[in-house]
Symmetry: C2
Subunit: 349 residues, 2 copies
């Protein structure tokens, strides 16, 4: 693959289509953007596989998550850079929820040939920005042609074997806590879809930012793993109701949460009021929070909150794990009702 | 996720659509097919990430490759099981070309909601068959909705750090060799596209099998890495001409190959004659061979061929690496002509 002269690339950049460039030029263009990898990457982009040195005594963590055009994003309302950021951030959030650190990412793209090459450049701008922010090496990927855009990120992470936290070991009596606040990304989506919402100003802007540029809780995840006190953890991608149900499934426990304790910030309250949406519904079923939900024994509460404070993250206890016969409930306005497995799933399930 | 009663699943199976099942039922259906993982998998399907124990002193290898409907396969001419097999096999071939062993796979699917759920079952049948054949644990994945089918496999492998073979260290004077034979999968594609070719009988069938069920050269890759004599290696996915050019790019060398030495079996000769196609063209530009192409110093030839024979793989020396000024050439009918970077790329490049 010969690099093109700069002038030639500049000429191509003005409105060039992916199909005009060809695969090799497109790969070359991506390689130059990604730049040199860190030392742990022994073989990076451009070989049959990447090769990454892992520390002895650690587990390799693997996750993958795809973003599909007109399903997860619309080109009209999301910049390519935001899509790139989010594609890496949502995978990093999965690594965070195991207590791990992300290491290296593979980016698999399906692109229509008529897509402007500039869009791919901007996508990589967001991917690279996120990779820097989360200390991830982009080590390779794949390009394929197809009818609509798919960005599929595969992320490798690592965690010490005695620190890994799964969803599986919560026990009745454990406290259930969540980092940060809930519903901001969902409020951001509402703000993006309602033209009149810019009227609510900076609060809508903060919610829109949460929607476009989610921040995975990497430092918090590692601090929680290092505390040794967390029994089960999951990241909130599809909304608290659904993700908490998944944690209860994996741990074979029930749960009761208290709606009055849900951490909901002013931006969400403002957008919900403006759009006539139910606040609790936004907080438990809005999705895309990318906060960490975890279970701890009650006696460890102070220690765990201190560990989070040390990385400048707050968390809120929102309920208690119960035996599985109790089922999953939420107390709203004094009444205990089933916590329906509401949230965002594909295929309507 | 509660498993459904068997009767209920049977009722759903008859023509059920992906959109009827919902995501959770579809995941459950996949989980039951995949079954229990091997011991190296500490956390498998169903958590935020998978966790895999790697041996100390090894490199983690990462690769990804996608198959897109109507680009890489057509539902009319490929069974879902063949697509599943191939999706895993083509990634395993990349791991083979580094001298590594595949370890764990993540399967990311984009599916139209109207797709029959049965198709996904059959896809996993092929994936699981390949996973057993290549000793790969399927440890997770992702499901997303989209307008056409995309099967994107991310594969983790491992290799001892002092054995990994990249594309980068071939030297002028090295011999260039290739395992097995060339052009079978390309001949198989021709046979599939020409209704009259079944007339050529079992030879066409063998070529069609190579197209549908490629066999990655895992044992050969490991034997070549263990020999310590291989300077550079690549797997042949897009055809010898293009993949050899990539190896020459990475190693900054030229090459001369001899068309009379290309290993082409009888099935390819029969199909090429029947379809009126050029034999050398099929062998160097047909693609999808998934053989290993490698460079060795001449004095290591016997040792390397013996190491391959020990795993029952044959290889053929087809040319010599030269200094980069020579360029890349092929001797055909006594004339030395440029080895054009022909082969299969996306976006026409």
């Amino acid at each position: 693959v010969q690099p093109k002269a700069d002038g030639q690339e500049a000429a191509l950049a003005a409105g060039a289509r992916v199909g005009d460039l060809g695969e090799l030029a497109l790969i070359e263009r991506i390689n130059r953007r990604v730049g040199s990898p860190p030392r742990r990457v022994v073989i990076g982009i451009g070989d049959d596989t990447a090769a990454v040195r892992l520390t002895a005594g650690t587990l390799a963590l693997m996750t993958t998550d795809a973003m599909v055009e007109d399903v997860h994003f619309r080109r009209r309302s999301s910049s390519a850079a935001d899509v790139g950021w989010k594609a890496l951030a949502i995978n990093a959030s999965d690594i965070a929820s195991m207590g791990g650190a992300p290491t290296a990412a593979m980016v698999s793209l399906v692109l229509p040939p008529t897509l402007e090459a500039r869009w791919v450049d901007d996508l990589y701008e967001g991917l690279i920005e996120a990779a820097r922010a989360f200390d991830i090496a982009i080590v390779g990927g794949n390009l394929a042609q197809g009818p609509s855009i798919v960005i599929d990120v595969g992320l490798l992470g690592e965690v010490a074997e005695d620190r890994v936290i799964s969803r599986a070991h919560a026990r009745p009596g454990d406290l259930v806590a969540v980092t940060g606040t809930l519903g901001r990304a969902a409020a951001g989506l509402i703000a993006l879809e309602h033209d009149s919402l810019p009227a609510v100003g900076s609060e809508a802007a903060s919610a829109i930012q949460a929607q476009r540029r989610p921040q995975p809780r990497l430092a918090a995840g590692r601090a929680l793993a290092a505390s040794g006190a967390v029994r089960a953890m999951i990241d909130l991608s599809d909304g608290l109701a659904l993700d908490l149900s998944r944690l209860c499934d994996a741990s074979a426990v029930g749960v009761r949460i208290d709606a009055t304790r849900l951490p909901i910030d002013a931006a969400v309250q403002t957008v919900a009021r403006f759009a006539g949406r139910d606040l609790v519904d936004l907080a438990i079923a809005g999705g895309e929070d990318y906060e960490l939900l975890f279970a701890i024994p009650p006696e460890a509460e102070r220690q765990v909150m201190d560990a989070l404070a040390a990385v400048e993250v707050s968390a809120t206890v929102i309920g208690t794990m119960l035996s599985s016969e109790h089922g999953r409930t939420i107390v709203v306005d004094g009444a205990e009702v089933p916590l329906e497995a509401r949230g965002w799933t594909h295929f309507g399930g």
